[in-house]
Amino acid sequence: MAVETMTHNPADAVAVPAGRARPESQIGLMWRRFRRHRLALVSLWVVIAFYLVALLAEFLAPTDPSAYSARYTYAPPQGIQLFSTSEDGSWRFFPHVNGYATEIDQKAMRRTFVIDPTVEIPVQFFVPSDPYLLAGVIPMSVKFIGVTEARAPFYILGADRLGRDLLSRLIHGTRISLSIGLAGVTLSLFFGIIIGGFAGYYGGWFDSAVMRVVEFIRSMPTIPLWLGLAAALPKDWSALQTYFAITVILSLIGWTELARVVRGRFLSLRTEDFVTAAQLDGASDWRIITRHMVPSFMSHIIAAATLAIPGMILAETALSFLGLGLQAPIVSWGTLLQDAQNIRTLATAPWLLTPGICVVVIILSMNFFGDGLRDAADPHGR
């Protein structure tokens, strides 16, 4: 409660409608300001939806992401039909997907798939499946959506070179790509707060040294550096080891921006009256930092961290796309896009570009959400 009153800015108090007896919490005030930002609010829901997909990947994905089927190489997206029409023109509600018919393209001497509208495969929600562990802990044996007919093709977004379901792979890739963004930012935040905090609070030679290093790292082109570091990872590392190594590599450069933000905040707060008051009261440095300074700029740091996540996701996607990031058995948006690298594949299977759309959507929403959060966290904003 002491912190609450300390950090309460006069500007905040104005936002509380008159006649209210109980002062609103800082979070409540932020939420109120944030809600006025329509775009940010919509983006928040989009971000939540993406993270839910990541969390419930096994439940939402219709098939196993590595289940392949040579019969359906590059099968085009089926799309879900909600209604079925019979010959006499009447229709009924019957969610289904259409089967495939194969045609031989005489010119290219290739097998191509066409959607066969006469074959209707019923689609159902909550279909029973082989038992699996949701998020690695909860045992389940039901999938959100699927077909009940055994061995019937079910490729809402199409199939890849090995006849694997793109939708399932996309959903599992979402988990990896989003979590690597989150993990990378958490690690960067850890380094950023410690290094930037020390630099900002104590100043002096440590501060100038840190700032030179930050400037230097930020003046380097990142992709060549990342590539150089990622190429040094041993090839025989397990998927998990590579995953963590890539996270560390990304945050080796990612911490600089956050350290700069933290340092700036520390510098500007160091001379505030409430910090001086605490110092005169004989509070220890540790207490001043953790009880007085950090709570008053935590919201800014969270906003800055949110704005750093898109960069991490982009970096992972770019690295994996170039083949030096996450490697094949791991499914991420970057490794998925790697399949779409040459024009021949793109011409046969343009649906392989869908992971890219996911990247654009999540980055846009993260940016809008972060912007809204930053505005809401600013006590002097209107």
Partner: protein, 330 residues
């Protein structure tokens, strides 16, 4: 001014030294030394390995000696003889491989910077002067999308669309018949018909950023009293805006080159891989996957040097147009 320049030059030399250290660290990262790998591949291919030649190489690069000694041998070779070492994969000195490709990188990045400015200037001014107009909103939306779309994804989409619409395959910088021809109008035309795609992809994110900054700067400037005075004195609207506010708003924009450049160099690496351009990017990727470390180190070092020099140029440019920086306390 002289004082300012010399200060920046000293800072640049220090930065370059740091760049060389980072590049060397990356050379050293992979386990084992490349000479061992080199000998192994030679023997595997059935080539005869001349122990004397290997021993000479080993002495030249100081393998087995402390890192600092190796670094010293490497860096003195570069500074005194322009010798970046040997590419083991191509069996040629690194210098013969990289200069042409680096030239292509600089050409593309330079053109991208020019396009960025040419496009961002009028749009940014328009967006600020006609605030909240349809054009302003379009510029804002376009800017957000331009920033959010990963450049390699943009390149892929461009490749797909040109293939579907025009039946052409994007890629490369020249048609085969112009590859080694001398510069002429026909060759220039051929170059432009290839280069528009990478330049478009490379400049999009930067353009979006420049428009945003220019718009914000100009909006601040337009509110100032001197603009009202100029208008009251009967200056034409065109001159009122272009004569002073735009010039003032340009200053911070020049300083953005410093951090636009690293991003540009980064994205040119990945875009070149997608569009198969003969720049330093694909060579870097290849050398890294085959652990041809002297080549990779040289490219990383030169890309870093390129960025540092570009930043220096933008700093000097800024000091030249803005006396506050030239004579400032800094």
């Amino acid at each position: 001014m002289l004082r300012f320049i010399s200060g920046r030059l000293i800072a640049m030399v220090l930065t370059l030294w740091a760049v060389s250290f980072v590049a060397f660290a990356i050379i050293q990262l992979p386990p084992g030394d490349y000479l061992t790998t080199y000998v192994a591949t030679l023997s595997a291919n059935g080539d005869r390995v001349d122990p004397a030649a290997i021993e000479a190489l080993r002495r030249q690069y100081g393998f087995g000696e402390p890192y600092l000694v190796q670094y010293w041998k490497w860096i003195t070779g570069i500074v005194t003889r322009g010798d970046f070492g040997q590419s083991f994969e191509w069996k040629a000195p690194v210098t013969t491989l990289i200069w042409g490709r680096l030239g292509n990188s600089i050409l593309l990045e330079g053109l991208a910077v020019i396009v960025m400015w040419l496009v961002a200037l009028p749009i940014g001014i328009y967006a600020a002067v006609r605030k909240y107009s349809l054009g302003d909103y379009l510029a804002t939306i376009g800017g957000f999308i331009g920033l959010a779309i990963p450049n390699f994804f943009f390149a892929l989409i461009l490749m797909y669309l040109t293939f579907v619409w025009f039946g052409e395959t994007l890629g490369g910088m020249f048609s085969p018949e112009y590859e080694t021809a001398r510069w002429s109008f026909a060759r220039l035309w051929d170059f432009l018909s290839h280069a528009w795609a990478p330049i478009l992809v490379l400049s999009t994110a930067g353009t979006a950023e420049l428009i945003r900054i220019l718009r914000a700067n100009l909006l601040d400037e337009l509110k100032k009293p001197y603009v009202t005075t100029a208008r009251a004195k009967g200056l034409s609207e065109f001159r009122t805006i272009l004569k002073y506010p735009v010039r003032v708003a340009l200053n911070p924009l020049v300083s953005t080159i410093g951090w636009l450049l690293p991003a540009l160099v980064s994205s040119s690496v990945i875009v070149s891989v997608v569009l198969n351009l003969p720049t330093a990017g694909p060579l870097l990727l290849r050398s890294l996957t085959s652990q041809d470390m002297f080549l990779a180190g040289a490219i990383i070092m030169l890309l870093g040097v390129l960025t540092v020099i570009g930043t220096l140029v933008s700093d000097l440019l800024l000091a030249w147009i803005d006396p506050r920086i030239r004579y400032g306390s800094k």
